[in-house]
Symmetry: C2
């Protein structure tokens, strides 16, 4: 059986501009333009398979993550052919969606998150790319 591929791995940081050169040097990938996802309170840049996230305002979930744990790995995203269908099937299998319906994520893709409570503490994103 062929399984889901990783779309990206997200890293929460206090400042994109402070770490983009570091991750470019480390991975050999060039950074995308910075994109703001206003409803999620983050600015986002992709460096190859890494999605770097910084808070875009002072009370989003990434601010709380940084306060609690400091910068570091934030979530992992798997690529699926159809987010709505994947959500339904995972919910039937006992997983708990955070998003009941797909919403618009970075790069204009349809995405949805699963609650880490049922995935060994891992925040998981599904991306229809």
């Amino acid at each position: 059986m062929s399984g889901l591929p990783v779309d990206h791995v997200a890293v929460a940081v206090p400042s994109l501009r402070d770490v983009i050169p570091l991750f470019e040097r480390l991975t050999g990938h060039s950074s995308s333009e910075i994109e703001t996802l206003a409803d999620q309170g983050v600015n986002v840049a992709f460096v190859g398979p890494l999605e770097l996230l910084e808070p875009s305002h002072p009370d989003g979930p990434v601010v709380r993550f940084l306060q609690r744990r400091g910068p570091g790995l934030h979530h992992i995203a798997f690529r699926v052919p159809d987010v709505a269908a994947a959500l339904r099937s995972l919910e039937d299998a006992g997983f708990q969606p955070i998003d009941r319906e797909p919403r618009r994520g970075a790069r204009g893709h349809r995405v949805a998150f699963l609650h880490p409570r049922h995935t060994a503490g891992v925040l998981l994103e599904l991306v229809e790319a």
Copy 2:
């Protein structure tokens, strides 16, 4: 310039057997056999691009990670053609290796870790696969 690909993303858990079926169901990948890395104090199973880690004895680094943060994303590994060469070049670029020389990791691969202090809190592994 083509950059480094992700080799795997590691998740620390208290018990492999409790979570392997969950990640198999979630990702559609089948688990590898469980492997013990005695010098690192972990038992390891791969489910597609995920490396699941459980402590193999009560005083390894993964025990401390679980006590401090609970289960969740532990590190990310990039594939490189030559770990020793990558270590030297990253050290020259200001990154701090945890391993000064490559050592034997899961699946018999040569690996080395970089210190999260200089990588935005992200523990990074290089894998010669």
